[in-house]
């Protein structure tokens, strides 16, 4: 793996921090009190979301750093240490997303459960992270996140029938905000520092928790029910058929062939597209209903493949239709096509139909939201 490439990835991970490490204002507490706790529910959802996003980003960052150290291979001990510290995250459940459903036990326990959980998670995370970066930078960093006696707080919360939770929530907001700030400072110290902001992501997007949740739900539906259009032209069609046959069985992922483009979600361009075929491919793509995706399967669909020099072959289907996933191979194995579908699912998860619609509707004066 190219070192440059990994460094780029690290920079991009850092760049995402303006999206994931979102500062939450203390006014939420006031709002919560005024609305008799209703806003607290939203706040908790937001905090859970923020925790997940931040931890996810940190996980990626750590992985990339480990990758980088692995490439350099100067310090084998450090690599092992980093890996060990990183793996702790898996064991403690830190890298697992906290489900939004946790809001239900939170409501039952008047919020105490979620507060306890978030505090604990943050403490574990901060502590582990401090060790990780100390190890990587080669000097001891100080622990900035204060240790909170969760047991005691829990007791206090129970005694005050959850009223203490208000103060506790305040602490969580403050602690996390502090942690993020420290984290940012720390990241700027990294030798690879220099952020590269992922363009095309609207920073405001993540602020709207309800809409994003709806989007998440819709995206779940989409990713779990991808119906490809049966469109095979050449050799790759054989492997496409093999992918849908018994051994690989794409129906496991809820994928079934549709013959009408109107009902299909993804167009697998499996095979060479000739100049004679190209307008028809375009027509087929136009006939599909939104949201639609395209997988360019095989070298021919990507670039023209072995026939790139030929007078009658289209040099890549992206000259005619937009392509989401490029799948190299001549022809790609069924496993590769399966992987392409999984990659496509990842991409589909980034869809935000509802959010975009809402933003267009509410914020008409704003500029078009970047897609």
């Amino acid at each position: 793996m190219d070192r440059e490439y990994v460094t780029d990835k690290i920079r991009r991970s850092m760049g995402r921090r303006i999206l994931t490490d979102e500062e939450v204002s203390g006014w939420w507490i006031i709002g919560g009190i005024v609305t008799f706790g209703l806003l607290f529910l939203l706040l908790f959802l937001k905090l859970i979301h923020r925790r997940n996003e931040h931890f996810k980003r940190q996980k990626m960052l750590e992985e990339q750093i480990i990758e980088l150290v692995g490439i350099d291979l100067k310090d084998k001990k450090m690599l092992a240490d980093l890996k060990a510290i990183h793996n702790e995250g898996y064991e403690s459940g830190e890298f697992k997303d906290l489900s939004f459903l946790r809001i239900i036990p939170a409501i039952i326990t008047l919020g105490l459960y979620i507060e306890w959980r978030l505090t604990k998670d943050l403490m574990i995370h901060a502590e582990r992270q401090r060790r990780f970066f100390s190890c990587y930078l080669g000097r001891e960093l100080e622990d900035t996140t204060p240790q909170r006696p969760t047991g005691k707080y829990l007791g206090l919360g129970v005694v005050t029938l959850g009223l203490f939770g208000i103060y506790w929530t305040n602490l969580i907001i403050k602690d996390s905000n502090e942690h993020f700030k420290d984290q940012w400072k720390l990241e700027d110290l990294l030798p690879e520092a220099g952020m590269e902001i992922d363009e095309g992501v609207d920073p405001d997007f993540y602020k709207n928790i309800i809409l994003t949740t709806v989007d998440k739900f819709l995206n779940w539906g989409r990713t779990c029910s991808v119906w490809p259009m049966a469109f095979g032209t050449a050799c790759c069609a054989m492997e496409m058929m093999a992918t849908f046959a018994s051994r690989n069985d794409m129906d496991r992922y809820g994928m079934i062939f549709r013959n009408s483009p109107r009902q299909a979600d993804v167009l697998i361009v499996a095979g060479t597209i000739t100049q004679k075929m190209a307008p028809r491919l375009r027509r087929l793509y136009d006939q599909m209903a939104e949201p639609k995706y395209v997988i360019a399967m095989g070298a021919c669909a990507m670039t023209g493949g072995p026939f790139v020099n030929s007078y009658s072959v289209l040099k890549g289907v992206d000259k005619v239709i937009p392509v989401d996933i490029y799948l190299p191979g001549c022809p790609p194995r069924p496993e590769a096509l399966l992987n392409a579908f999984l990659q496509l699912q990842e991409r589909m998860k980034e869809e935000r139909t509802v959010t975009k619609k809402f933003e267009r509707w509410i914020l008409k004066d704003r500029k078009e939201v970047v897609t």
Partner: protein, 368 residues
């Protein structure tokens, strides 16, 4: 007032992206209700200019392109091409390589027929054969993968031999497949051969009389289903086909059912050949002595092999350089599809679908 009894002809366009056209064949139909009055096949949607490309490639460089001609049974194309070049060069291929070639091509023929059966089953509305056939095909592909590392596009044959010898455990695996396959084949036959609905859909459908078959130069299983006992393996035995005991199935039904029977029987015969080859395969070299740079003398050669779809011919004109001056591929499906209008005379739409399916077309080879 117009006469309401007047039959209106509806022109309808099947393909190039239609589930029944197996790739990008396009049929222009003229319908009178369900009855098809005119069939006009339009081809060329996968014309990749292989013949022109060949003129810019050296002889060995062209082998991978032959894989992509008839992608359902690539080994057969490999053999067709290398055989032509060997005839041009006058090279004698070692025994062991010949046996390996026969084994792989016959396996390839089975794989190709399996693809055909599965796709045709879908055309007729039977879903189960598709999955059953691909199950066995996967095993054949595994065997090929063991041999040469590829599943579809093998480029296994070389001018003067084959690229790799049998790896360890290959013979056992192949033997294992040969043992289980007859059982599986009878499984497909249970679903289809004597199924009332299947018979109703296939018997007497897509008739191609013997005279028309000759007229159109039809070859392969379709010719044999029309009563022509024509198989290059028997009529002009190439490679070492004269050493094996097998028979050429011939049916006189001229319909799509006969084509089905022929192909099923061919799979059995191919299996028999593979078994014999596996038993008799001698030790020895797998490559003949071939010059580093292949530069045939000026001349021309037309060499034919029996592909899974019919006679596959390669006409190579050499001008003495290391690239073919002109390379022409005589593809079986090209001639077979030309006979489609004869088969679909006054058929129903469903019959057209069944007939097109029974031709076992492979557009890569047809359009080249």
């Amino acid at each position: 007032m117009s006469d309401i009894r007047k039959v209106v002809e509806i022109p309808i366009n099947m393909g190039p992206a239609h589930p029944a056209t197996h790739g990008v064949l396009r049929l222009r139909l003229k319908l009178e209700g369900e009855i098809v009055r005119e069939v006009d096949p339009v081809i060329g949607y996968l014309h990749r200019g292989i013949e022109k490309l060949a003129e810019s490639l050296t002889y060995p460089q062209f082998i991978p392109y032959t894989d992509r001609l008839d992608y359902a049974g690539s080994m057969l194309n490999n053999l067709g091409y290398v055989k032509a070049v060997e005839e041009l060069l006058g090279i004698e291929v070692p025994e062991r390589a010949e046996y390996l070639r026969v084994m792989t091509t016959e396996l390839s023929r089975i794989a190709s027929h399996l693809v055909w059966l599965s796709a045709w089953g879908l055309d007729l509305g039977a879903m189960a054969p598709f999955f059953y056939c691909f199950r066995e095909r996967e095993e054949i592909l595994n065997i090929f993968e063991m041999l040469c590392g590829a599943r579809i596009t093998f480029s296994y044959m070389r001018i003067g031999g084959v690229s790799k010898d049998m790896p360890e455990g290959f013979a056992d695996r192949l033997q294992n497949f040969l043992d289980i396959f007859p059982e599986k084949l009878s499984e497909y036959e249970t679903i289809l051969t004597e199924n009332e609905i299947f018979l109703a859909r296939t018997v007497g459908v897509g008739i191609l009389p013997k005279e028309d078959a000759i007229d159109y130069g039809v070859t392969g299983p379709i010719a044999r289903a029309s009563g022509l006992e024509y198989d290059t393996r028997k009529i002009e035995p190439y490679s070492i086909y004269d050493r094996f005991d097998f028979r050429i199935p011939v049916e006189h039904g001229c319909d799509v059912y006969s084509r089905y029977l022929i192909r099923v029987e061919e799979m059995k015969q191919s299996m028999k050949i593979v078994q014999q080859a596996l038993d008799k395969i001698p030790e020895g070299e797998i490559m003949a002595k071939v010059p580093k740079k292949i530069k045939p003398e000026p001349g021309r050669v037309y060499s034919r092999v029996e592909g899974s779809k019919g006679e596959l011919g390669f006409l190579i004109i050499s001008d003495g350089s290391d690239k073919p001056y002109r390379l022409r591929i005589r593809s079986p499906a090209y001639s077979n599809v030309a006979a489609l209008p004869v088969m679909c005379e006054n058929a129903k739409i469903a019959d057209v679908v069944a007939t097109v399916g029974s031709l076992d077309i492979c557009l890569g080879e047809m359009d080249r």
